[in-house]
């Protein structure tokens, strides 16, 4: 029974009874003591480990809403607007113009040719988002400038609902001006009037191309390499516990999860949430399935979460908004699940004792969820259920007040403040509601248990960045969205540690550095309380410790 004592420059515990320390003792993967060197002696002999002597330890970060696909995207090149770090730690610079996109694609095309890949091998990239190009759309006129114009190119968009194809790709797929599928966008003027622009919207139009290149890694099921890459990203970002917030949990998915998390070298604890919509199970069978998995949980693989989904996305204009709707006049979005179906299914999973995480982006969807949960709880009261609204980007104070009364937690999509804050201000919800976008302050003021998230791979997995968003509420144009709604640094750190741990019913086990909890640490190069709040996102991450095992980033 060996004891290791880690010495650090500072330990930020998130335990209000002892906010700071310099030493932490670890035995059997758990925290034995926290304090100064003298206090460590109470439990007998120990080995002093000073490798973190110039580092700052925080509780391992908890990402309450991401997807393991964050690791699976990187088998294809990235073409997004923002800089993004890959699992090896390399930063891919953002692509800020169509010319830059063509240049990046030309490089890849040349690399493919140099590597001897056949001329008809498809070039597939991901992460593109036209919303940042000021109204300019990518077309075949851009993509056909790549190389000699014969490459089959597929540019998958960040939201997963659109792609762009080159003329060679369209020709191979048989898509021409006669194609009647509504999502095939066509030039409305100019020399190519009536011909496809190459932009394919929604699944049926994307199907035209994807069936010729396979799923191209975009929709492919997660494999061992993808899960390992996810683990590598977690080490780079200080994450020790992460959700996979929608998973079919079929035999294939379970096999990949178990095979990898059974390995002591796997660096992160995974909580997959069962897909309780668009699934193959009715609610009763789904609940039974999840319950049957719970006894098979291990330290690094925990079952028991359920994911439901009510609406779409705000920037995709598919979220359900209350009056006055979208500022650009777009029609209201869609229900992914009808509110009445949601309520009925929610009740089944709730009565089965499971914790339900509900995707609600628009305020009408959030309100429908709150109304449904209120009725379900009246019929079937259950203390300490920890049901959580996910995203909840437009929830206002009256709704947060009701959530507090109902014990509903909020996991807000703080990264939107940066990634789409300007677009929400100008194009989707307008200035008033954009100033209370992802209103962490109102949630805390109302007494709602709060977490914040990335929804990776929608935005990158990086809890310190997510905390930075909630603290600064700044957009790429320099606008501050609701200065009064900014969180303090301690509140934001809580929302990436104990806050999400609460929504996952793991706050007794993780989320702070105190006796009895798992020895999960984020090892940082700087103290988040000592740096300028605008530098929070730039604090270097050395790596992590998970249940007492040390995982250097990049190692």
């Amino acid at each position: 029974m060996s004891t290791t004592v880690y010495q650090a420059k500072r330990i930020v515990t998130m335990n209000p009874a002892q906010p700071a320390a310099t030493h932490v003792a670890v035995r059997d993967g758990r925290i034995l003591a926290v304090g100064d060197l003298d206090r460590m002696a109470a439990w007998g002999a120990f080995e002093l480990d000073t490798r973190f002597a110039d580092k700052v330890l925080l509780p391992g970060f908890v990402e309450g809403h991401c997807h393991l696909k964050e690791g699976g995207m990187w088998d294809r090149p990235y073409l997004g607007w923002f800089d993004r770090r890959d699992p090896q730690g390399k930063v891919w610079p953002g692509v800020r113009s169509m010319d830059a996109a063509v240049a990046r694609l030309s490089e890849i095309d040349a690399q493919m040719a140099a590597a001897g890949q056949p001329a008809d091998a498809p070039l597939v990239v991901w992460g593109f988002d036209p919303i940042y190009f000021g109204g300019e759309r990518m077309t075949v006129e851009h993509l056909d400038r790549v190389g000699n114009g014969t490459r089959r190119i597929v540019v998958a968009h960040a939201n997963g609902h659109l792609l762009n194809a080159s003329s060679a790709m369209l020709a191979a797929a048989g898509v021409d001006g006669d194609c009647e599928v509504e999502g095939v966008v066509k030039f409305d003027r100019g020399p190519l009037a009536g011909q496809p622009t190459g932009e394919l919207q929604e699944p049926a139009a994307m199907y035209l191309v994807l069936k010729h290149v396979g799923n191209a890694g975009l929709l492919a099921p997660l494999d061992d390499a993808g899960l390992r890459a996810f683990g590598a990203i977690c080490k780079l970002q200080g994450v020790t516990t992460a959700t996979d917030l929608v998973n079919r949990l079929g035999e294939a998915e379970l096999a990949v999860l178990r095979r990898n998390t059974d390995d002591d070298d796997f660096p992160v604890r995974i909580l997959p949430a069962f897909q309780a919509f668009h699934g193959t199970h009715g609610a009763a069978a789904g609940a039974e399935h999840v319950r049957s998995l719970i006894p098979t949980s291990t330290d690094r693989l925990r079952f028991g979460l359920v994911k439901m989904m009510l609406d779409g996305s705000i920037q995709g204009y598919s979220a359900r908004l209350r009056w006055p709707g979208y500022v650009n006049g777009a029609p209201n979005g869609i229900w992914v699940t009808a509110p009445s179906q949601y309520e009925a299914d929610f009740e089944v999973y709730h009565r089965a004792g499971l914790t339900i995480h509900s995707h609600t982006n628009g305020d009408e969807a959030s309100l429908a969820a709150i109304d449904a949960v209120e009725r379900v709880l009246a019929r079937a009261p259950r203390p300490d259920h920890r049901h959580t609204l996910q995203h909840g980007q437009m929830i206002d104070r009256p709704m947060f007040d009701r959530m507090a009364q109902l014990g509903l937690c909020a996991n807000l999509f703080a990264n939107h403040l940066w990634y789409w804050g300007d677009q929400h201000h100008d194009m989707t919800m307008g200035p008033d509601r954009a100033h209370r976008l992802d209103d962490c302050r109102a949630a805390l003021d109302a007494g709602v248990r709060l977490a914040i998230h990335s929804d990776a791979p929608v935005t990158p997995l990086a809890p310190l960045f997510t905390a930075w968003c909630a603290v600064n509420r700044i957009t790429p144009s320099g606008r501050v969205l609701g200065a009064s709604q900014r969180l303090r640094v301690d509140e934001a750190l809580h929302a990436i540690t104990l806050g999400p741990a609460w929504t996952l019913k793991l706050d007794h086990e993780i989320g702070s550095i105190e006796v009895g909890k798992r020895a999960d640490f984020a090892v940082l190069g700087d103290d988040p309380f000592a740096v300028d709040p605008m530098a929070l996102k730039d604090i270097p991450v050395w790596g992590t410790v998970l249940s007492g095992r040390v995982f250097p980033a990049g190692g």
Partner: protein
């Protein structure tokens, strides 16, 4: 890949029907009925709620976690979260199915699913059928969260079934008809045909153009199959047609047409295959004459099919009428 009896230059595509309708409208009842009494039609049914499909145990040949094969040759598959993948499996089956039916989820727009039939050459859009719970519609329309989702699918519904008609009052049925008409008026389109049903009792023949045959004459249905509810119209016109006029005419068909299809010769020796489904006209140029020769067939509800207007309209598209 499918190999189908070759009637034209390319294999005949499989008819593809989408069933829309809110929860409780009777979609599952309809699908259960069709699967159980498929007759000689081998149907592939793709559903959202796999658990709700209730197939007589005696009919089940093989049951898996996401597909049930029936002894009558039909199959019922779960869509899950990937319709593309579910369709790919169905299209790869040998021998090919005679018809594919997809159930749209309660609040989704069936027209989005119909796009797959426009995208996939192995499929031909047959019809978009919209079921309505006539007894509950007034209550559903009073829900501000639902009214837009319920109304959107009307835009492309070829046939609106006012189901549970036995439970609906005269006022309910009137409300439902007025709702369909008002939406059409708002869109400045003709209202789709409306039929009242109980237990979603709709003829299977709608799934594969078996209600009519281009050269067989009349309805290919027994009276027990509700033959009296539907009416067919057909012509085997002589002469050649002006493509632009045909396109314009089909985009503004007179009211009362549920489904239309045919093959017509053009002045330049090519042929035009025309389809009307999903309230949407499709055209495909054929390099060679179809074996069936020139034919245009249409179906509508008995007494509502505008036979005279169809005949006159087709005449108006003849090439020699030019100038």
């Amino acid at each position: 890949m499918c190999s189908r009896p070759v009637a034209e230059a390319s294999p005949a595509p499989i008819p593809f029907t989408v069933i829309g309708g809110f929860l409780g409208a009777g979609k599952t009842t309809l699908l259960n009925r069709w699967l159980a009494r498929a007759d000689a039609l081998r149907i592939a049914v793709l559903v959202n709620d796999f658990g709700a499909i209730n197939i007589d145990a005696g009919l089940v040949a093989q049951a898996g976690s996401d597909a049930i094969a029936l002894s009558n040759g039909c199959v019922c598959c779960a869509i899950g979260d990937d319709l593309s993948a579910a369709l790919a499996k169905v299209l790869a089956a040998q021998p090919c199915f005679d018809a594919v039916v997809v159930e749209a989820s309660g609040v989704s727009d069936p027209w989005r699913i119909a796009q797959y039939a426009l995208a996939e050459p192995q499929l031909q859009l047959q019809a978009v059928l919209l079921l309505v719970d006539a007894a509950a519609l007034a209550q559903h329309l009073a829900d501000p969260l639902l009214i837009d989702s319920l109304t959107r699918p009307l835009a492309h519904a070829d046939l609106v079934l006012l189901n549970h008609a036995d439970r609906a009052s005269a006022a309910d049925l009137q409300t439902a008809r007025a709702w369909v008409r008002a939406d059409a008026q708002r869109r400045e389109r003709h209202a789709p045909p409306i039929i009242e049903t109980t237990q979603a009792d709709l003829p299977l023949a709608l799934l594969a153009d078996r209600l009519y045959t281009p050269h067989g004459g009349g309805l290919g249905m027994r009276p027990a199959d509700h033959g009296a509810q539907f009416q067919a119209w057909q012509q085997q016109p002589a002469g050649t047609f002006d493509e632009a006029r045909l396109r314009a005419w089909l985009r503004a068909l007179p009211p009362g047409v549920l489904r239309l299809k045919g093959w017509l010769p053009l002045a330049d020796g090519r042929w035009l295959a025309v389809q009307w489904a999903g309230r949407h006209a499709s055209f495909k140029r054929l390099a060679t004459a179809p074996a069936s020769g020139a034919a245009l067939v249409a179906i509508g509800l008995a007494g509502q099919l505008p036979a005279a207007a169809l005949g006159a309209g087709l005449q108006g598209c003849l090439q020699q009428n030019d100038g």
